[in-house]
Symmetry: C2
Subunit: 430 residues, 2 copies
Amino acid sequence: MKEVTIAEIGNYVGQEVALNGWVYNIRSIGKIWFLIFRDGTGLLQCVVVKSEVDSDTFEMETKLTQESSVRVTGTVRAEPRAVGGFELGIKSIAIFQIAKDYPISPKEHGTAFLMDHRHLWIRSKKQHAILRIRHQVIKACRDFFDQNGFTLVDTPIFTANAVEGTTNLFAVDYFDRSAYLTQSGQLYGEAGAMAFGKIYCFGPTFRAEKSKTRRHLTEFWMVEPEIAFCDLDKDMDWAEKLVAYIVQWCLDHCGTELKTLERDISKLEKVKAPFPRITYAEAVEILTKNGVDFEFGNDFGGNDETIISEQFDCPVMVHRWPAEIKAFYMKRDAENDDLALGVDMLAPEGYGEIIGGGQREDDYDILVKRIEEAGLPLKPFQWYLDLRRYGSVPHAGFGLGIERTVAWISGIRHIRETIPFPRTIYRLEP
Amino acid sequence: MKEVTIAEIGNYVGQEVALNGWVYNIRSIGKIWFLIFRDGTGLLQCVVVKSEVDSDTFEMETKLTQESSVRVTGTVRAEPRAVGGFELGIKSIAIFQIAKDYPISPKEHGTAFLMDHRHLWIRSKKQHAILRIRHQVIKACRDFFDQNGFTLVDTPIFTANAVEGTTNLFAVDYFDRSAYLTQSGQLYGEAGAMAFGKIYCFGPTFRAEKSKTRRHLTEFWMVEPEIAFCDLDKDMDWAEKLVAYIVQWCLDHCGTELKTLERDISKLEKVKAPFPRITYAEAVEILTKNGVDFEFGNDFGGNDETIISEQFDCPVMVHRWPAEIKAFYMKRDAENDDLALGVDMLAPEGYGEIIGGGQREDDYDILVKRIEEAGLPLKPFQWYLDLRRYGSVPHAGFGLGIERTVAWISGIRHIRETIPFPRTIYRLEP
């Protein structure tokens, strides 16, 4: 008999098929009972009718428990009222294993309990949907860069120096010395851009932040393009094209998941390039107009970001920042040396910053000066300075945070639900 | 003027275009000189003819140095004798920056010197080709799984326990405790397979191995599928389908790079599923027949692997291993309890093991027994045991090492050249 998955069941209407999976739920109405069945690709209503099966099968209603593993066979029927639009008229059920006392019941559980059972919680409808969206967000990022001539350059996780201090860095015992876990692949990505023109790196990054807010994980994933012969304007072009592509891809491929999450699709449908671009100064004006007591020159907090982003339907790009609050490697604005050519992209609906980036300083002498001004040692930057010694070119790039992007697209407030096994200051398990 | 890349230049024959990039080399024959130009997407011969350009441009021959950054404009011509089949008749050259004393000259350099200049070395033709192949190998892996209904489940890098000892683990200072960097996503992948049916994880993994052989990096990338309702035979089906797909993809998309590396393509063209499958016992027989003094029950060394793999044109899968030398979670052969249902895939031409995997023990009681027999504590495995408590099913998976696969396809002996910034016991920089 043909073995199929729920995802493809629409191709087998009228045929007898077999499926392997798990019991999601059971409902009874007397001489008929319903097995809501999951196989990882979706949910399927299976109908067990007393007159159509042998008594052993019919009596399984009392045996089968939530998350028991089973093989079901039966005939596929179109059924508009059922989840997914199809149902299975059961012929037989074979049991792999009966699950006893599955800990996650349909009743409400606290977050700590669910996180302690994360290895099981990911089977639940909502978590399942978020992580499927995560997969498609990542696929969209990679496809976008692959289709646009970028080369993947995996940057290292182990780095040798904690040049900007060890405060937010994780230290590793590396044989007879210490290594530090990467916070960004950018500097290495710049070397890659000089070799390949346009590159992206994509991997986990780490921040030992003692923050307990809903926006921070110690381990999170970033995709970071870096582009030779690119200025701030073109950098913003790439950023908006990428984000518009991701959103459209998810609208096209995650309809079921977005519905499960009751996401307001109309909000996502408005996300089309070009996105609004405002200067830092204009962003501060928005805050002042909205009654925020904000001091010019500071960085924006979460609430500030929310107020700014709520002015727009699309993600908004804030550029030209006070140089003092941005990194040493940012190029300054030719028209105002106090401004760094950086850009942050804020997601709509208060989901906060999803992209940070900008144009890099490409002049050797100025970069040396910046490193010295920042009070950093020159020695560990010699290889990075080589990129300005040997064929320096204007270049720019940015990093997109995967978890925050998934949170926004899914409409989920806690980024800890946007990664399969979240790591925070208090959580290393499961 | 249209700005184009070398990769797409074939579309612009007869047209005037501009390209941004770097000087790769310069050759002179008197009233004509050739600029070999690179832009990250390829190499292009640019011809500067005295009678066709102004004197400033013609005199740039003496100014331009290796790796200087330039913008060239000119007319595209078909030229079968030139690299890539096209050349540019130069009209003008604008200089971004003159590179002084670029350290990597066409002369021979030692490996340590080149590795110290890895951030520049990746611009060289051969390294560039290897890393482009790496990109396509990774893309092929992801596409393969995406097209076959697998869900990407990123498994955590930080893990809480060093249950099998800390010998090969990197320890991290994690706030008030220790964490360890993952060596494999498998156990978490199994949780993913129970939620999504078929999953893969893909990320960096870490081994604090004090090994200096050419086969070991401390940081390397692995793709690890895990499949519910899958036995050892089906696991081998997936493994051979994946590897055949990767090789075919590279043959179809990396022709230029394989040619640059002078790879014997005919060897790769023979790699078609099905691959040979032999038992461990049969592999030992091969060794004995070839005069190796091998003790049954041991693991194979590098030389053993080479001898076994040289018997076949395709990668060979060695299955059913002595249980004592395999991990506790491997399911035993129903017909011989001393054998574990594991499989290693050895690449041809002596490139060694590229895949390790097998069927997992899915019975709760047996798994508890195995953990105890291995002298491991039960507590940190409680979440893993939950996968056998709640809807356990037969399942299997494997891990494919990206660097070894790239080394094999590229025909490169040292895996340190298969990753942009290799990390070894002695190397954390650049």
